[in-house]
């Protein structure tokens, strides 16, 4: 079996069986690409994660691009990314077509009435532990609260805030480095 097909099928499997997206996908990605295929060494996997998180976009897509490139170059990246995205693309397409028809069904509506507050809780609950994992201190928490308030209550563009936070933080880092060298 060609490497490209192997890449596509492996990431298709990852895309099909990882419910919830994001960090829920990591254990399966690790098992497939480190243990089953040996495309990435165990100790390199965490480096791969760090790299995948430093690029914007879904972590699973970023991981597929990296592994695909390592195994078979740019075409490898394309094969792996197609594999990751195709299952959710097809499944959501079916659901979207179905939901358009069943939106007004009282059972579907009641189901979603129950689900909505649960979804909000699932987004809010992990915030604290995520902040600790990212080692955010007082100043960081202040910045996070500011961003949250600006987006939620003042309708600031999130893309603009991300750009400002990134550029500002880079400028501050370079400024500090310069002063450090001068003194």
């Amino acid at each position: 079996m060609s490497q490209l097909l192997k890449l596509f099928l492996t990431f298709f499997k990852i895309g099909t069986f990882t419910l919830g997206g994001g960090y829920a996908m990591l254990p399966l990605i690790q098992r497939e690409i480190v243990e089953n295929r040996s495309w990435v060494e165990e100790e390199d996997f965490f480096e791969l994660l760090a790299l995948a998180q430093s690029s914007p976009g879904p972590v699973a897509v970023n991981a597929s691009v990296f592994v695909g490139y390592k195994v078979a170059g740019v075409t490898g990246s394309i094969a792996a990314t197609l594999g990751t995205t195709l299952p959710s693309f097809l499944i959501i397409l079916v659901i979207a077509a179905w939901l358009v028809d069943y939106r007004s069904n009282p059972f579907v509506e009641a189901f979603f009435k129950g689900v909505r507050p649960a979804v909000v809780a699932m987004i809010a609950a992990p915030l604290y532990s995520l902040g600790r994992k990212m080692r955010i201190k007082f100043k960081g928490a202040l910045l996070a609260s500011l961003v949250a308030a600006m987006v939620a209550f003042a309708d600031f563009s999130p893309a603009m805030l991300i750009a400002i936070a990134g550029a500002g933080s880079l400028a501050y880092g370079i400024f500090k480095q310069k002063r450090h060298k001068e003194s």
Partner: protein, 175 residues
């Protein structure tokens, strides 16, 4: 024809600025698809996609791109344009990172960049939760009870799919 280009451009922007992935991308998606000028989805539609994304495989960004593309145009081409748009920036950026990653690894400019990006990412996730705490999603006392129960269950790392199914079943019995 123009709608396909607008879809592509909107989701391209989401892919380009979607640092942190997952929930951190929600305010970006919401800003593009729920707010003006597009008003493609209502707030209720939007949270339903998030719920569906929790129950189906794959990244939230891909799921919402496919869903929004379909509902806005009624065709698979809308889905294709939006999904391609959201994937393209991360694809290109990650390809560059993969190519130069040995240099990239020891680049302390990245550390400087992420010193500010990390709190911003947390702030965006908090914003996603805050904007969703509204009268559309919290219609009565039962909503509050479902919220509190799921909040605690999430802290104890319950399976998200089961939590959605339980909350939905409760909804069918209550409403």
């Amino acid at each position: 024809m123009e709608i396909y280009f607008t879809l592509f451009a909107s989701f391209f922007k989401i892919g380009l600025f979607g640092f942190g992935g997952g929930y951190a991308m929600l305010p970006l998606i919401q800003h593009e698809v729920v707010s003006a000028p597009h008003n493609w989805l209502s707030m209720a539609d939007f949270i339903d996609i998030v719920a569906i994304s929790q129950m189906t495989p794959g990244p939230i960004a891909i799921n919402s791109a496919t869903y929004v593309g379909y509902t806005v145009t009624g065709t698979i081409w809308g889905s294709l344009c939006a999904t391609l748009g959201v994937c393209l920036p991360p694809f290109v950026i990650m390809l560059l990172i993969s190519k130069f990653y040995l240099k990239f690894r020891e680049n302390h400019y990245m550390d400087m960049l992420f010193a500010g990006l990390k709190p911003a990412i947390i702030g965006l996730i908090a914003a996603a939760a805050l904007t969703m705490m509204n009268a559309h999603n919290f219609i009565d006392l039962n909503s509050g009870i479902i919220f509190a129960t799921t909040f605690i269950a999430t802290l104890y790392r319950f399976d998200p799919i089961k939590m959605i199914l339980v909350a939905g079943t409760a909804g069918i019995f209550i409403y």
